[in-house]
Amino acid sequence: MSVILKTEKLRVEFKNRELGQMTKVALQGLDLEVSAGEVFGFLGPNGAGKTTTINVLLGFVQPTSGNASLFGIDVRQPIARRRIGYLPELTYYYKFLTAEELLRFYAEIFGLRRAEADKRIDEALKLVELDSARKRLIKTYSKGMQQRVGLAQALINNPDLLILDEPTSGLDPLGRMKVRSIIQRLKNEGKTVFFSSHELGEVETVCDRVAIVADGNLKAAGSVHAIMQGHPTLEKAFLSIVGCQN
């Protein structure tokens, strides 16, 4: 299978401008590969470097050294993001727009023609069950509705790779089930999903492969079954790998 997400010796340092403070190394030479069609879980304790990795992949942060590519294109090129969808952990969108206007705006950026954009907007809003609220301003939406708008905008361009940063964070059980079913549906369509999460139970259910990072280093990577070898649950395997004992 082709590799569509790749990092090679990715290092990210944040220089602290205050005198006497050390440089913070968020990633120390991360090597990661995600193949097409798999659901890949990116795990780690808080401060491990998960969000920094995602930020580098999306061009928000420049790596200090090393490479990162999406579909073989360097992540610093805007065109690398043409075939991806991204759902940030905290979802905030333009409050003065309606859901339909927001999706139309993003569809324009992706270069979708009017007819195709209309079709994609209808599909995305129906999928996240916001069709009835499409003409309302986003500022009138509840948190759950805003999260669903986030999911809709991540799917507007029918992406081949979906990057989700803690997609079920703050969602009720129904919302989490909905996200899981969307991930499963995308997997059945042959899409690739790369997501970071603290919900190890969900990761165990939906993921094909996982990687565990801690302190900016890759501690383990492989199939869920291989990672869990000798442990009853993924959570116990995770705690063992990151060095925490019960």
Binding site: F14, T51, N55, L58, G59, F60, V61, Q62, P78, I79, A80, R81, R82, I84, Y86, P88, L90, T91, Y92, Y93, Y94, K95, F96, L97, E101, F105, Y106, E108, I109, F110, G111, G150, Q153, A154, I163
Partner: protein, 259 residues
């Protein structure tokens, strides 16, 4: 170009749905109408003073709109985290800066149309004539000057942490240029080195916004029209400064960490 226009459209929608422009416009209209009703000493020439004050109010209001609207664009996106899903799209940071600039500049243009239409109606009600070409020249260079102000505010929004500091600094710079800009060369002549070189340097470096500001006199004193080749020359001069500020903004934004 498509991305730039899409972002500009969102800026226009935002300004349409926010209320600040309407408040400023209504305030300006009310003040002008009150002044227009005054009849001092039965002086038929009082219309000239009315025009001067109205145009000054229009300049102040348009500067407030241009600076406060632009100073808020990028910082608000960062604070509200709307920048992340936007930059995760196939959109370069340069396109984002240019889209924001175009949107803010177009909003300024629309505001100026409203202001000058109102002003023209007010002046015509007293003078019973409407020198359209004079208004066109003055409004066109006014809009070009606001383009420079928007570009400068956009650069400031990437350099200064708070929109309020950026707004204060930009407004102060604009006021200083409009009031003192044309006198800097005379001030320089009266100084000794190195002060003279420093002031001359400032004189040649700053965008001379007092030139479009002085175009008000065309309307106030009914001066003859300026030849269009000079108007276009002034416009290209101002476009040059827009380009410089925008290039600097793109360079600054390119290296910034957004998360």
């Amino acid at each position: 170009m498509r991305n730039i226009l899409a972002i500009a459209k969102v800026v226009l929608v935002e300004m349409y749905r926010r209320k600040e422009f309407y408040v400023l416009f209504i305030l300006t209209v009310v003040i002008c109408l009150i002044m227009g009703s005054i009849n001092i000493f039965n002086d038929k020439q009082v219309i000239r003073y009315l025009k001067e004050l109205c145009l000054l109010l229009i300049w102040v209001s348009s500067l407030i709109i241009a600076i406060t609207m632009t100073a808020r664009q990028i910082p608000a996106e960062r604070e509200q985290r709307t920048l992340l899903p936007l930059l995760a799209k196939p959109l370069s940071r340069t396109q984002l800066i240019l889209g924001k600039f175009l949107g803010c500049w177009l909003v300024c243009g629309m505001c100026l149309i409203c202001f000058y239409l109102f002003f023209g109606a007010l002046a015509a009600s007293r003078e019973h004539e409407w020198p359209l070409m004079h208004y066109l020249q003055a409004a066109f260079l006014h809009w070009m000057a606001l383009g420079v102000v928007v570009a400068m505010s956009l650069l400031g929004s990437l350099v200064f942490a708070a929109p309020s500091s950026n707004s204060t600094i930009c407004f102060s710079i604009c006021a200083a240029i409009m009031c003192l800009g044309r006198y800097l060369d005379e001030i320089a002549l009266s100084l000794h080195e190195p002060g003279r070189s420093l002031v001359y340097g400032i004189y040649y470096a700053i965008p001379h916004l007092e030139i479009p500001f002085a175009m008000r006199n065309l309307i106030i004193h009914d001066w003859p029209l300026i030849e269009w080749k000079f108007v276009w020359l002034a416009a290209f001069y101002l476009v040059g400064y827009m380009a410089v500020f925008l290039a600097a903004a793109c360079l600054v934004f390119r290296r910034k960490t957004v998360n």
